[in-house]
Amino acid sequence: MNTVWIILAPLIGGLLYGVERIVRARMQGRKGPPLLQPFYDMFKLLDKRPLLVNPAHVLLGIMHFITLWIAVGLIITGTNLLFVIFVHLLASIFLVASGFSVRSVYSHIGANRELLTMVAYEPLLILIAAGFYLKNGYFSIELIHEGEPLLGSLWMLFGALLLVIPIKLKKSPFDAAEAHQEIVGGVEVEYSGVYFEFLYMAKWLEYIFVYLLVILFAGNSVMMAIVLVSSVFLLVNLVDNATARVRIPHLIAITLGIGLTLSILNLIGVGYGL
């Protein structure tokens, strides 16, 4: 069963992206693209003449996609949460390395910003894992899914995760790493055709990864998982539509300032039974 989910993960992510584009359009009073638009884009990209800057650049991009897929797979199979976070970090590092592997201004700026956003969210993800460990005494995702919902006692860490989500999904106000028209998509600027497809699909996987993290807080309650995912989904898109982009220094200050405070308070609370 798990294998099927892992194989389907990018497709589900694609559908989620399709739904999101419609929801966003509706929020703006538009009709929006068809649901399968992301897949149309993908098929079109397959049909382009292959162009690339250098093989290392392309290979690092493909590695980013594969590693992300593995990270998603590891969450689905229910291994160690901390390890999953590091595999996900490895994926981001492949992406940044690919950005730095060409002599392109935008790619470098994008990779640079991507790195700086890592400064903002990586400590938070680790502290979230720490919260689960303190509460349960294990990192195993499988056991977390079997346990009670932890949103009640880890709600401040959930708040920290809410700060991370727009960064990972490249949503306003934390989308400076991609900053579409400003730095032409950042890291992905030099990819084209079939090679761009890997980065495009990696974005879908990022959706799955983030929402699987959200589901962790629901424990064994399916109802709660559905409510959490849909409300976070709506909230993120609402905020995306309603806010402007903040600069990278502000992004780091906001995420680390609020996120670290919330996580540390929560850890103290859980660790000492307050």
Binding site: K31, P33, F43, D47, R49, H180, G185, E188
Partner: protein, 192 residues
């Protein structure tokens, strides 16, 4: 598997201003706005030649913008279509014959769709894009070359490198004579 029918469903646009008065550019933005909602056809203003299918050019091609025009065209992966948007992009418009502009982009790159108008209205733009999509569907993946400021890509060890096929002015494709305004050669070109 034949994916060519999906070209129509996901046209990504690269918009380049080759010295336009911004009239047409404003109309493009209007066409992309929620009012017309081009996104329902899958249109995306990507701003990156490497991920675009439609090259939407405005402006009569000033001297400064020639190299960039060819370079951007060159960086777009085939199949691709070029739309000349607005009167001056098609023919030079009110700037025709002036010393500092070329008369339309088709001197430099092959154009598939001409959209007249000063400025072209959003409806016209959408219509032009739709026509361009029909052309796009029929195109092959063969390399398409610019008309000037262009040299064949180099091939070494079986690897074709087109990074230098868009030339700098003064390095071929153009004689220095030709670059002078109102040179005999230039006037000759105009009569073509």
């Amino acid at each position: 598997m034949d994916f060519s029918r999906y070209r129509k469903r996901s046209p990504w646009i690269l918009h380049y201003n080759a010295g336009s008065c911004n009239g047409c550019d404003i109309e493009i933005l209007a066409a992309l706005s929620p009012r017309y909602d081009l996104e329902r056809f899958g249109v995306l203003n990507s701003g990156n030649p490497k991920q675009s299918d439609i090259f939407l050019v405005t402006g009569p091609v000033t001297y400064r913008s020639r190299e960039r025009l060819v370079e951007l065209y060159n960086q777009m992966p085939e199949p691709k279509v070029v739309i000349a948007l607005g009167s001056c992009t098609c023919t030079g418009g009110v700037f025709r014959g002036m010393y500092n502009v070329e008369d339309g982009i088709d001197r430099y790159i092959p154009v598939d769709v001409y959209i007249p108008g000063c400025a072209a209205s959003p409806e016209l733009i959408i219509d032009g894009v739709v026509q361009a999509l029909d052309i796009l569907e029929k195109k092959t993946k063969e390399r398409e070359n610019a008309k000037r400021l262009y040299s064949e890509p180099t091939t070494e060890n079986g690897i074709t490198d087109r990074s230098n096929s868009a030339q700098k002015i003064g390095t071929g494709g153009f004689s220095p004579e030709e670059m002078k305004p109102n040179s005999p050669e230039r006037r000759e070109n105009e009569e073509d």
